[in-house]
Subunit: 196 residues, 2 copies
Amino acid sequence: MSLALDPAAQDLLFREAHTAKTFTDEPVTEEQIQAIYDLVKFGPTAFNQTPLRVVLVRSAEARERLVKHMSEGNKAKTSSAPLVAIFAADNEFHEELPQLQPTAPGLKDAFFSERPVREQNAAMNATLQAAYFVVGIRAAGLAAGPMSGFDHAGVQKEFLDGDHTPLMIVNIGKPGEGAWGERSPRLTFDEVVTTV
Amino acid sequence: MSLALDPAAQDLLFREAHTAKTFTDEPVTEEQIQAIYDLVKFGPTAFNQTPLRVVLVRSAEARERLVKHMSEGNKAKTSSAPLVAIFAADNEFHEELPQLQPTAPGLKDAFFSERPVREQNAAMNATLQAAYFVVGIRAAGLAAGPMSGFDHAGVQKEFLDGDHTPLMIVNIGKPGEGAWGERSPRLTFDEVVTTV
């Protein structure tokens, strides 16, 4: 046993956790999302740029508009999940850098002065944060259902600031009946890891 | 307290964990990396594509070659960390899909037949896995030092298969003296999360 993390936590976050396709009706509260954020906000990003932005789709009206943009296979679960979150990357994250990285005040206007550099950094680092957030949803005793199958341009236009790029949409709630099937296989260590 | 994860695990993975800049000499064993992989391999990716590939740089000769590609500010820590890992995205991950997603045998030749689609999927999903791996390093009681500052083309050419794109390089070990400074500020909940 080479891990410091206790086995119950390993199970909660990874071994027993699955992407959920069905959910119970139990609501996901604002306090739960705040507790998740207050934990996962500490996950590392390059230069602490933390470009992830989250839109919680809570109203019935907004949910209906969102479902229209989901791919066919994702419509039913996005309709029925207690809470749906849009994860996006803020391509103008550099505006916050003087506050987030006070030891390197020049970063904003030097390294991040060009939009393509910012877009690439925002996509990568917001994706890291999206993964931390999924781990955090599980840390709250909830199941996550991350999805990339949706009309990205449509969601961008209808729900996001012009400078925010959608990354994924995540259903959140307590897993319902038949929330998942059998675990899909994983690659072996030797298929993934090589040593030089 | 809205989280199911116990507070010691919260501290280990997020609250007390920091990106390390210095390390002790204590080696990082193959068993530790295997235990990390065997935990984080369960983290979700789109269609279970799991495109992350890892190169462990263990020999002194390979370490020396790698350090040459690091940006100036990353050379010293990359030289002195007990273990350094190159995280990369496999743009040909679809070759493994019939094994990884046996319920959708058509995916490989339909949705993922075009290289640009695969590259975009590989980058995003391997980045999610990179974040799970960083969490896993912390779960092993080790500190991670993820870095994006290196000559990506040089590392690609010298260390990776032609179809693998480098994402980040991660120093791994027990934190040494002065491994980190003060925690950088984080955005508030209201700066990151909006509700519709």
